[in-house]
């Protein structure tokens, strides 16, 4: 089986050159054929493990705490701000 690299790259919001596509397709297919060995394992009726702590529903009291970051600080690493907010590309077309 092969991975459709250009499709996966699009899903992951990555832009690849043609040369990269070819290289990654080979490398990812290698890894894919390696992991096929899991098919040998009988996992019928085996519960999946998504975490190992055994903790459930960790909550805290719903009380207001002081905000640790001032607005200016929160924006300090962004190259794209306007009026104290993060500026992003339009999602919906206005026309």
């Amino acid at each position: 089986m092969k991975i459709n690299v250009s499709h996966v790259a699009k899903l992951a919001n990555l832009t690849l050159s043609a040369a990269e596509e070819k290289k990654f397709e080979e490398q990812l297919s290698d890894i894919l054929s390696y992991i096929e060995k899991l098919n040998e394992v009988d996992t019928k009726n085996v519960e999946p493990t998504s975490q190992v702590t055994g903790l459930e529903n960790v909550t805290r009291e719903d009380i207001v705490k002081d905000c640790e970051l001032a607005q200016e600080e929160a924006l300090s690493n962004s190259k794209s701000t306007q009026n104290g907010l993060f500026k992003v590309k339009a999602i919906l077309d206005s026309k």
Binding site: L38, N39, T53, L55
Partner: protein, 468 residues
Amino acid sequence: MDLNQLTIAEALEGLRGKKFSSVDIAKACLEQIRKHNEDINAFITVDEKGALEQAESADKQRANGEELPFLGIPIALKDIFLTKGLKTTAASKVLENYIPQYDATVVAKLKDAGAIIIGKINCDAWAHGSSGENSDFGPTKNPWSKEHVPGGSSSGSAAALAADMCLASTGTDTGGSIRLPASFNNLVGLKPTYGRVSRYGIIAMASSLDSIGHFTKTVEDSALLLSVTAGSDPHDATTPDKTVSNYSKIENGVKGLKIGVPKEYFASGLDSEIKEKTEAVIKKLEELGAEVVDISLPNTQYAIAAYYIIMSSEVSSNLARYDGIRFGNDRSFFGDEAKRRIMFGTFTLSAGYYDAYYKKAMQVRTLIKQDFEKAFEKVDAIISPVSPTAPWKLGEKVNDPLKMYLSDIFTVTANLAGIPSLAVPAGFSNGLPIGIQIMGTQFSEEKLFQVGYAFEQATEYYKHTPKL
């Protein structure tokens, strides 16, 4: 002996006895960095000014009679630990100019304990790798032989400490990223129980596997450091509210302890000299009074496959946030390894493949975890090699990602099961260090220190140092 070569315990004793000052130690470390970092490439950022200021203030505190567990001890941090006001890159060009607005919990705890943050350390970008060669800031060299890799992903953490540029360093271990470089540099490396140390403020790789640990020269130092970093954190919901023991009170000897040796870890693929050295470790522990028990962890052979699916899936999700809007550069700045893992994880999570890959891997994870649970009914701890081979040469595996992944074959199991593992030096192969690991049940760090300490004191490999 120079001050930068001291263990933490020795330095604390000297500081308390007023034999030298924190500034003296910090200067010795900074001098060593100046002399050798260009060759070794262990540091991405050296905070010379900040380190000296912190050292001066530590000396003042001590003069005023204040006493803190790490007062005046220079520590270096893997560059994925957020440090307020100090650049944190994850060794990736995506974050080449990122200045965190807050400290990771562990960093805050270290500062509160009086430690001096001397700088930020090179690693495989985003902690993806087993050799250190995936850093966007150039590979780190092994101080024992500059033609060889220091192991990854916490490559610089191990190299900086082995080269005496700091007295301890932090790391993260998602599939072996502390234990492998520790063993390649004759150091003690602790991967704590999942959840024992907070992940808050540490750039996430695979959130269900990431363990926050450290590198030290001795087992005693490792225990001292865990006493500071461990504990529940309201900012990390996966840190159980378990008592933090005084880990540095290490019990003496291994008499009567049952040590398991898993036969699957000695199967084909294990280098003959590593096998010999590991068998010598087992013999030594037997001489010291431990009872050695043969055990089986039958699903070991599936660990790497399960790990790569789970890890890549979580990586693809965690790295989705890097879009260049709130911080950092855009996604075109990701290196090859991050791209591979993001795409592989995106694939295994995508519609139509989730059950076949991600769910299957999580089920195999259950079986691997159960293997350990069964084994620990019979034994107190398990011993195995860390790496199937001695350190390899720079460049040897860079074009074959799968081959690189297989270097972690003995280490990923502890992450999948969430158990702690302590890597300790086990000798040398052609002059290059190799290590073994001691695994235990969840939250059994004390027992690992006990076994590690007994072995260390009987062998004293830590007394060997590289010639730079």
